[in-house]
């Protein structure tokens, strides 16, 4: 199945961007074939994203941007909406179960969403080759983070910092694996807030979503338990991506024929992915995600440098 996915995604017919635009314009395929292919591709990406434990946006932008005939401006706009809808869908359940924390989210979201606006404006103003180079470097950086970043399920915090105490950022959640309620608090809040400036910038500029960066900062730097960090990160995207999505929407970088099949495909794929999760081998899927990201990151970088056009 994975081989079929790879063949499907890396079909050489969908090679270079300039020729892709021609493929789009002069394609023998009828108009409806592209959104249909996009729907199936995003459906598969939705499954892989759930199984690989990554957000849909981070897979969507490099893969659809690299292998479909759409300009990166529209792919990034669609990527933000894909990430936004995924987080909107997940948000209610995470909030109700106390896994995502509102008091933790609000200050971080304020910083990240403000810088995401700036990121979106920069992203839409930069030339395409520059964006491709930066996107490629970022995606390869994400792969490196996936390799080296450790995870701490229940970080030990000796003392909460003054800012988090003032903001009353602490909480309790129920951990079913131990049957216990886990209390948590955070530290290094000022440094985390400053890092969210960069996270927001990247999210807005590349339309990637930013779970890949949120989780290490929340978990490793602030000391938020892993489950709360992952859930809060997912919920946080609904606010960060909202601000950037408006910039893309108001700039005209939204084409419904790209956006809607992508959203529907990735959401249906996520639903199927959750069911497949029970029988999947997580390590293998994680390698597939790393391979997909490495390949598409390299492709974006080489495309930007004019080596693989």
């Amino acid at each position: 199945m994975i081989l079929a996915i790879l063949l499907f995604l890396f079909n050489p017919l969908w090679g270079a961007e300039t020729s892709l635009n021609e493929v789009g314009a002069n394609s023998l395929l009828p108009w409806w074939a592209w959104p249909l292919l996009l729907f199936f591709a995003t459906f598969i990406l939705g499954i892989i994203a759930v199984l690989g434990g990554v957000g849909g946006g981070v897979l969507f932008v490099p893969i659809v941007g690299g292998f479909f005939p759409f300009n990166l401006d529209f792919v990034r706009g669609a990527g933000l909406l894909v990430a936004l809808c995924g987080s909107l869908a997940a948000g209610p359940g995470l909030l109700r179960r106390g896994l995502a924390d509102l008091r933790l989210t609000i200050p971080l979201a304020l910083i990240a969403s403000s810088s995401a606006i700036v990121g979106a404006m920069i992203g839409l103003a930069l030339p395409k080759n520059v964006i491709n180079i930066l996107l490629g470097v970022t995606i390869l950086g994400i792969v490196a983070i996936m390799f080296i970043a450790k995870k701490s399920e229940f970080p030990e915090i000796k003392e909460a910092d003054a800012l988090s105490k003032a903001l009353k950022i602490y909480g309790t959640y129920y951990e079913p694996s131990t049957g216990k309620e886990i209390e948590w608090k955070v530290h290094h809040t000022p440094l985390a807030l400053s890092l969210f400036v960069f996270i927001g910038l990247m999210a807005g500029m590349f339309g990637l979503g930013a779970g890949w960066a949120n989780v290490p900062v929340l978990n490793l730097l602030m000391g938020v338990p892993l489950k709360v960090a992952v859930s809060t990160s997912k919920f946080l995207l609904s606010i960060t991506d909202t601000s950037a999505a408006w910039i893309y929407l108001n700039s005209g970088a939204i084409i419904p024929m790209i956006v809607v099949p992508s959203i529907l495909g990735i959401m249906l794929g996520s639903i199927v992915g959750v069911r497949v999760l029970a029988v999947a081998k997580p390590k293998f899927i994680r390698w597939v995600v790393i391979l997909l990201l490495s390949f598409s990151g390299l492709r974006a970088l080489l495309k930007g440098l004019g080596i693989w056009t």
């Binding site: 300009n71 529209f74 609000i106 103003a125 216990k180 309620e181 909202t242 408006w246 929407l249 108001n250």
Partner: protein, 138 residues
């Protein structure tokens, strides 16, 4: 046993508004897309022409299709493609609705810091949504 952890009032209210809004938005998005692809409302850009346009950058695309930036789509909701912007804008605006609801709760609780943070967030999202911020060409 699920434990005694119960999220705060504002967290549960936020979840409720988000849940309802997200479901309405997604159903709405699917319906308007069906209207679009079955051409129940004629689109501004003929669907068959899209493959020759989606490879252009956004500035060339807007120029070629004679589409204005910002909220001008709201005056063209009788066109199938622009109709899809309505649920997209609704989904993108949902967080603002949730924050507005939350603002009242924080004010009621006299939580000054969070009232202020939530208020600032609403302003930032409204500025982004307003279309005031312009993007330069490339």
């Amino acid at each position: 046993m699920r434990g005694k952890v119960r999220p705060s009032e504002e967290q549960l209210v936020y979840a409720y508004v988000l849940d309802r809004g997200m479901k309405i938005g997604l159903v709405f998005l699917t319906l308007t897309f069906l209207v679009y692809i079955f051409k129940l409302f004629p689109p501004h850009i003929p669907i068959e022409k899209l493959p020759s346009l989606w490879g252009l950058n956004v500035h060339q695309y807007l120029k070629t299709t004679n589409i204005q930036r910002g909220w001008t789509w709201i005056y063209n909701l009788n066109k199938g493609d622009f109709l899809n912007f309505l649920p997209v804008a609704f989904l993108a605006g949902l967080t603002i609705l949730c924050y507005l609801r939350m603002l009242f709760i924080y004010i009621k609780k006299k939580d000054i810091i969070y009232s202020l943070l939530v208020f600032l967030q609403i302003i930032i999202l409204l500025v982004a949504a307003s279309g005031i911020l312009k993007v330069g060409g490339h």
